[in-house]
């Protein structure tokens, strides 16, 4: 009997690495947008971001913008090559000028829709690298926020830009065994409509990170994010570099939790300074 139990124990099938959240047998923990292609995948995510930025040259004319932003994201992959994604933000913004004439706005931000096309991968099952193209649109869904008297808040305090922004991107994911992976994404933002005073500048974002997964349920990610912006009516051009540490934790029920930060270490924009950003995200595969 004892021997039979030993045989049964070793004969029992090992826990499969395949699950919906890691996708197609790939055990790599992924955040929204970095997942390998899988036909029929439906992902839902919420993310919370808190960030701040200061504008102004001196103590006397400095203004601080702080934002707490919730995003509801959903993606669907009708095939292993195509994924569509929608994001709906809810934003709480506070603009504090040096005179303490604070403005606070709460409301819907500018929603985003994106399509991603995987145009190159080395093999269909457990690909080692995946290249994708993304195109999308940021829509002027944010209302103009007013104060109690009906006067619109200043442009910086508004959660939306009031215009459309085209989004174009290129992404790379590499999977090196079950412990290491790498992710990179390049995205260009091209605003093309809306009031000039509120229009966001032409900009680009480059993100690159390496991920180490010591256990099946924990991933450590370290990366760098670069954001560049052209001059606009209200913003100075320049480049900002952030360190991007992140932690991914697999939770029960196919949930993946991501907590991380963006820590600025270079900011070349005249008169503007990015503060640290804290972010958390919960992803579930249905």
């Amino acid at each position: 009997m004892k021997n039979l139990l030993v045989v049964l124990f070793f004969a029992a099938p090992a826990a499969a690495w395949a699950c919906a959240s890691c996708g197609c047998g790939n055990p790599v923990l992924t955040s929204m947008g970095t997942e390998p292609p899988l036909s029929g995948r439906v992902r839902l995510a919420t993310s919370v971001r808190a960030w701040s930025e200061t504008e102004g040259q001196s103590r006397l004319d400095t203004a601080t913008l702080r934002e707490l932003r919730f995003d509801l994201l959903a993606s669907w992959s009708p095939s292993e090559r195509w994924t569509v994604l929608a994001a709906l933000p809810l934003q709480l913004r506070e603009l504090t000028p040096s005179t303490l004439a604070r403005e606070r706005a709460f409301g819907l931000g500018d929603a985003e829709v994106q399509g991603r096309w995987v145009f190159l991968l080395d093999k269909r099952m457990r690909p080692r690298w995946v290249l994708g193209l993304a195109a999308g649109l940021r829509l002027p869904t944010a209302p103009v926020i007013t104060d109690a008297s009906g006067s619109p808040l200043t442009d910086d305090a508004q959660p939306g830009t009031g215009g459309f922004t085209a989004l174009l991107g290129l992404s790379y994911s590499g999977y090196f065994g079950e412990r290491f992976s790498a992710h990179a994404a390049l995205q260009a933002e091209l605003p093309f409509a809306g009031p000039p005073s509120r229009r966001a500048p032409f900009g680009g974002r480059l993100y690159g990170a390496g991920q180490y997964q010591p256990t099946a349920w924990l991933g450590l990610r370290a990366g760098v994010e670069a954001r560049a912006q052209a001059a606009s009516a209200a913003m100075a051009p320049g480049l900002t570099l952030f360190a991007a540490p992140e932690l991914l934790v697999r939770l029960p029920a196919d949930l993946t939790l991501l907590v991380g930060a963006r820590l600025p270490f270079v900011d070349t924009r005249a008169g503007e300074g990015a503060g640290p950003m804290l972010l958390a995200s919960l992803v579930v595969d249905l």
């Binding site: 006397l60 004319d61 400095t62 303490l100 706005a105 709460f106 929603a111 926020i145 104060d147």
Partner: protein
């Protein structure tokens, strides 16, 4: 539906800026016996607040081998923002509201007053009557000279102290003896400027 609800839920609020009420407390001009000052007016074209120097800035200035320029507060942001100029009646006692400053929050250690001509008035004007050879004779003296008065103050503006006050006390000033002198207006302006205190 969700989007429509969220769109409708948008709301905003705006707080008032910190402000400083500038009030002058004048003492009527005094004069020698027989002299009647019917009207006296001082023009204040600007009131600016100078921030207190931080400990770090003091240390830097003391230790730095490079000489540090004393930046005029007005070169960075306008600490006299909101003040449109005011006039102090020198023959009326009591408080006279000069205007409101909308400076940045912070600690201020100096108020800088500029006494200068405005678009419509000289820096200082006074008229009345004085005895000349036993007869009461009209006089009018005025000056377009400019004076800058620096006054030590201690004023903190922050979330807990959003409404500040700058009370300018003009002390007792006696009219010049020779009201016919070409420099009488400048003398009176100097005396008034020297009498100003912040309280």
């Amino acid at each position: 539906m969700l989007v429509a609800l969220l769109w409708l839920a948008g709301c905003g609020e705006r707080e008032e800026a910190v402000s400083v009420q500038v009030v002058a407390w004048a003492t009527p001009l005094a004069a020698a016996p027989g002299v009647v000052v019917e009207h006296g007016r001082l023009v204040v074209t600007a009131v600016a607040l100078a921030p207190c120097e931080t400990v770090g800035a003091k240390l830097w200035r003391a230790l730095s081998p490079v000489s540090v320029a004393w930046a005029h507060a007005g070169h960075t942001a306008d600490p006299s923002e909101g003040f449109e100029g005011g006039e102090v009646m020198l023959t009326v006692g009591g408080s006279q509201r000069l205007g409101v400053l909308l400076p940045a929050a912070g600690r201020y250690c100096q108020a800088v007053l500029t006494l200068a001509p405005s678009a419509t008035h000289p820096s200082l004007h006074a008229h009345g009557e004085w005895p000349v050879a036993g007869a009461s004779t009209p006089f009018a003296l005025e000056t377009r000279a400019e004076r800058v008065v620096r006054l030590p103050i201690s004023l903190a503006l922050d979330d807990a102290h959003r409404d500040g006050a700058l009370d300018l006390e003009l002390g007792a000033v006696t009219m010049p003896v020779d009201l016919a002198s070409a420099t009488a207006g400048d003398e009176l302006l100097d005396a008034v400027a020297a009498s100003v205190r912040a309280r």
